[in-house]
Protein backbone atom coordinates (compact mmCIF):
# COMPACT_ATOMS: atom_id res chain seq x y z
CA UNK A 1 0.00 0.00 0.00
CA UNK A 2 1.36 3.45 -0.80
CA UNK A 3 1.94 5.58 2.31
CA UNK A 4 -0.30 8.40 1.10
CA UNK A 5 -3.37 6.18 1.02
CA UNK A 6 -2.49 4.75 4.43
CA UNK A 7 -2.26 8.28 5.80
CA UNK A 8 -5.66 9.13 4.31
CA UNK A 9 -7.22 5.98 5.80
CA UNK A 10 -5.72 6.72 9.23
CA UNK A 11 -6.95 10.33 9.09
CA UNK A 12 -10.48 9.32 8.14
CA UNK A 13 -10.61 6.70 10.90
CA UNK A 14 -9.40 9.14 13.55
CA UNK A 15 -11.89 11.74 12.35
CA UNK A 16 -14.75 9.26 12.67
CA UNK A 17 -13.61 8.30 16.18
CA UNK A 18 -13.54 11.93 17.29
CA UNK A 19 -16.98 12.52 15.74
CA UNK A 20 -18.41 9.50 17.55
CA UNK A 21 -17.02 10.77 20.86
CA UNK A 22 -18.49 14.24 20.25
CA UNK A 23 -21.88 12.71 19.47
CA UNK A 24 -21.75 10.59 22.63
CA UNK A 25 -20.91 13.65 24.72
CA UNK A 26 -23.89 15.43 23.18
CA UNK A 27 -26.08 12.43 23.95
CA UNK A 28 -25.07 12.56 27.61
CA UNK A 29 -24.94 16.29 28.23
CA UNK A 30 -27.79 17.88 26.25
CA UNK A 31 -30.74 18.79 28.48
CA UNK A 32 -33.99 17.73 26.77
CA UNK A 33 -34.99 14.77 24.62
CA UNK A 34 -35.49 16.79 21.45
CA UNK A 35 -32.00 18.22 21.85
CA UNK A 36 -30.57 14.78 22.41
CA UNK A 37 -32.12 13.43 19.22
CA UNK A 38 -29.70 15.55 17.18
CA UNK A 39 -26.53 14.01 18.58
CA UNK A 40 -26.72 10.48 17.06
CA UNK A 41 -27.27 11.99 13.59
CA UNK A 42 -23.62 13.04 13.69
CA UNK A 43 -22.55 9.40 13.91
CA UNK A 44 -25.12 8.14 11.46
CA UNK A 45 -24.02 10.55 8.75
CA UNK A 46 -20.51 11.93 9.14
CA UNK A 47 -18.74 9.14 11.01
CA UNK A 48 -20.33 6.42 8.86
CA UNK A 49 -19.28 8.25 5.71
CA UNK A 50 -15.71 8.65 7.00
CA UNK A 51 -15.39 4.94 7.84
CA UNK A 52 -16.96 3.93 4.53
CA UNK A 53 -14.55 6.05 2.53
CA UNK A 54 -11.65 4.73 4.61
CA UNK A 55 -12.54 1.12 3.92
CA UNK A 56 -13.20 1.79 0.23
CA UNK A 57 -9.74 3.38 -0.11
CA UNK A 58 -8.10 0.59 1.91
CA UNK A 59 -9.64 -2.36 0.08
CA UNK A 60 -9.34 -0.72 -3.34
CA UNK A 61 -5.64 0.02 -2.96
CA UNK A 62 -4.95 -3.47 -1.61
CA UNK A 63 -6.84 -5.17 -4.42
CA UNK A 64 -5.62 -2.82 -7.15
CA UNK A 65 -9.16 -2.39 -8.47
CA UNK A 66 -12.24 -0.57 -7.18
CA UNK A 67 -14.08 -2.32 -4.36
CA UNK A 68 -17.32 -0.42 -3.89
CA UNK A 69 -19.60 -2.88 -2.08
CA UNK A 70 -19.26 -0.94 1.20
CA UNK A 71 -21.51 1.74 -0.32
CA UNK A 72 -24.38 -0.52 0.73
CA UNK A 73 -23.82 0.50 4.37
CA UNK A 74 -24.38 4.20 3.82
CA UNK A 75 -27.19 3.58 1.34
CA UNK A 76 -29.08 1.49 3.91
CA UNK A 77 -28.24 3.95 6.71
CA UNK A 78 -29.49 6.91 4.69
CA UNK A 79 -32.76 5.08 4.01
CA UNK A 80 -33.42 3.81 7.53
CA UNK A 81 -32.21 6.65 9.76
CA UNK A 82 -34.88 9.25 8.78
CA UNK A 83 -37.60 6.66 9.32
CA UNK A 84 -36.49 5.78 12.84
CA UNK A 85 -35.92 9.44 13.71
CA UNK A 86 -39.43 10.38 12.54
CA UNK A 87 -41.04 7.46 14.39
CA UNK A 88 -39.21 8.25 17.64
CA UNK A 89 -40.04 11.96 17.40
CA UNK A 90 -43.73 11.16 16.79
CA UNK A 91 -43.76 8.71 19.69
CA UNK A 92 -42.19 11.27 22.02
CA UNK A 93 -44.63 14.00 20.94
CA UNK A 94 -47.52 11.60 21.52
CA UNK A 95 -46.27 10.59 24.95
CA UNK A 96 -45.38 14.08 26.14
CA UNK A 97 -48.80 15.42 25.16
CA UNK A 98 -50.37 12.81 27.41
CA UNK A 99 -48.49 14.08 30.44
CA UNK A 100 -50.20 16.78 32.54
CA UNK A 101 -48.54 20.17 32.44
CA UNK A 102 -46.80 19.76 29.09
CA UNK A 103 -46.36 22.98 27.12
CA UNK A 104 -46.13 21.36 23.68
CA UNK A 105 -48.41 22.76 20.94
CA UNK A 106 -51.53 20.72 20.19
CA UNK A 107 -51.58 18.37 17.20
CA UNK A 108 -52.33 20.04 13.89
CA UNK A 109 -54.83 17.44 12.74
CA UNK A 110 -57.55 18.58 15.12
CA UNK A 111 -57.67 22.03 13.54
CA UNK A 112 -58.29 20.74 10.03
CA UNK A 113 -61.57 19.29 8.70
CA UNK A 114 -61.78 15.53 8.67
CA UNK A 115 -62.37 15.34 4.91
CA UNK A 116 -61.40 17.87 2.29
CA UNK A 117 -64.45 19.63 0.83
CA UNK A 118 -63.32 19.32 -2.82
CA UNK A 119 -63.17 15.55 -2.59
CA UNK A 120 -66.28 13.47 -3.22
CA UNK A 121 -67.28 11.29 -0.29
CA UNK A 122 -66.19 7.69 -0.41
CA UNK A 123 -68.90 5.36 -1.69
Amino acid sequence: MPPISEAIVALLLLASGCIALIAALGLVRLPTFFDRMHAPALVQTLAAWCVTFASIIHFSTRAGEPRLHIWLIIIILSITVPVTTAVLARATLFRERQEPGSNLPPPLRKQMPATRPDQPPAP
Binding site: M1, P3, E6, A7, V9, A10, L11, L13, L14, S16, G17, C18, A20, L21, A23, A24, L25, L27, V28, F33, R36, M37, A39, P40, V43, Q44, A47, A48, V51, T52, A54, S55, H58, F59, R62, H69, I70, L72, I73, I76, L77, T80, V83, T84, V87, L88, R90, A91, T92, F94, R95
Partner: protein, 92 residues
Protein backbone atom coordinates in the same frame (compact mmCIF):
# COMPACT_ATOMS: atom_id res chain seq x y z
CA UNK B 1 0.15 -3.16 7.79
CA UNK B 2 2.20 -0.14 8.75
CA UNK B 3 2.56 1.07 12.34
CA UNK B 4 0.71 4.29 11.46
CA UNK B 5 -2.39 2.40 10.42
CA UNK B 6 -2.18 -0.01 13.36
CA UNK B 7 -1.93 2.78 15.91
CA UNK B 8 -4.65 4.85 14.34
CA UNK B 9 -6.97 1.82 14.30
CA UNK B 10 -6.25 1.16 17.99
CA UNK B 11 -6.91 4.79 18.87
CA UNK B 12 -10.12 4.80 16.83
CA UNK B 13 -11.36 1.69 18.61
CA UNK B 14 -10.61 3.30 21.97
CA UNK B 15 -12.58 6.40 20.96
CA UNK B 16 -15.50 4.21 19.87
CA UNK B 17 -15.33 2.39 23.18
CA UNK B 18 -15.54 5.67 25.08
CA UNK B 19 -18.52 6.67 22.90
CA UNK B 20 -20.27 3.37 23.64
CA UNK B 21 -19.67 3.77 27.38
CA UNK B 22 -21.23 7.23 27.26
CA UNK B 23 -24.18 5.81 25.30
CA UNK B 24 -24.53 3.12 27.96
CA UNK B 25 -24.61 5.86 30.61
CA UNK B 26 -27.54 7.40 28.78
CA UNK B 27 -29.26 4.02 28.49
CA UNK B 28 -28.96 3.45 32.23
CA UNK B 29 -29.73 7.02 33.30
CA UNK B 30 -32.28 8.10 30.67
CA UNK B 31 -35.32 9.54 32.45
CA UNK B 32 -37.86 8.02 30.06
CA UNK B 33 -38.13 5.14 27.63
CA UNK B 34 -37.54 7.14 24.46
CA UNK B 35 -34.17 8.38 25.74
CA UNK B 36 -33.09 4.79 26.20
CA UNK B 37 -34.29 3.86 22.71
CA UNK B 38 -32.30 6.70 21.11
CA UNK B 39 -29.20 5.73 23.08
CA UNK B 40 -29.61 2.08 22.06
CA UNK B 41 -29.89 3.08 18.40
CA UNK B 42 -26.71 5.14 18.80
CA UNK B 43 -24.91 2.14 20.30
CA UNK B 44 -26.04 -0.05 17.40
CA UNK B 45 -24.52 2.38 14.89
CA UNK B 46 -21.27 2.66 16.84
CA UNK B 47 -21.07 -1.15 16.98
CA UNK B 48 -21.53 -1.24 13.22
CA UNK B 49 -18.65 1.22 12.82
CA UNK B 50 -16.50 -0.98 15.08
CA UNK B 51 -17.20 -3.93 12.75
CA UNK B 52 -16.11 -1.86 9.73
CA UNK B 53 -12.89 -0.78 11.46
CA UNK B 54 -12.18 -4.42 12.39
CA UNK B 55 -12.65 -5.30 8.72
CA UNK B 56 -9.79 -2.91 7.91
CA UNK B 57 -7.72 -4.22 10.83
CA UNK B 58 -7.98 -7.91 9.94
CA UNK B 59 -8.24 -7.32 6.19
CA UNK B 60 -11.30 -9.50 5.76
CA UNK B 61 -14.65 -8.79 4.12
CA UNK B 62 -16.58 -11.08 6.49
CA UNK B 63 -16.95 -8.18 8.93
CA UNK B 64 -18.71 -6.19 6.23
CA UNK B 65 -21.59 -8.66 6.15
CA UNK B 66 -21.83 -8.54 9.92
CA UNK B 67 -21.97 -4.76 9.78
CA UNK B 68 -24.76 -4.92 7.19
CA UNK B 69 -26.75 -7.24 9.43
CA UNK B 70 -26.20 -4.92 12.41
CA UNK B 71 -27.61 -1.98 10.42
CA UNK B 72 -30.69 -3.97 9.45
CA UNK B 73 -31.34 -5.41 12.92
CA UNK B 74 -30.80 -2.02 14.54
CA UNK B 75 -33.40 -0.55 12.20
CA UNK B 76 -35.90 -3.32 12.93
CA UNK B 77 -35.36 -3.12 16.69
CA UNK B 78 -35.64 0.64 16.85
CA UNK B 79 -38.75 0.65 14.66
CA UNK B 80 -40.39 -1.99 16.85
CA UNK B 81 -39.60 -0.04 20.02
CA UNK B 82 -40.81 3.20 18.43
CA UNK B 83 -44.08 1.59 17.39
CA UNK B 84 -44.46 0.21 20.88
CA UNK B 85 -43.94 3.66 22.40
CA UNK B 86 -46.39 5.18 19.91
CA UNK B 87 -49.26 2.73 20.22
CA UNK B 88 -48.61 0.38 23.10
CA UNK B 89 -48.31 -2.62 20.79
CA UNK B 90 -45.95 -3.53 17.99
CA UNK B 91 -48.34 -5.05 15.43
CA UNK B 92 -51.91 -3.73 15.41
Amino acid sequence: MSPLLTWSITLTLLLYMAAMVLGLVRVLRGPRAQDRVVAMDFMYVVGMLIMLVLAIRYDSSMYFEGALLMVLFGFVGTMALGKFLLRGEVIE
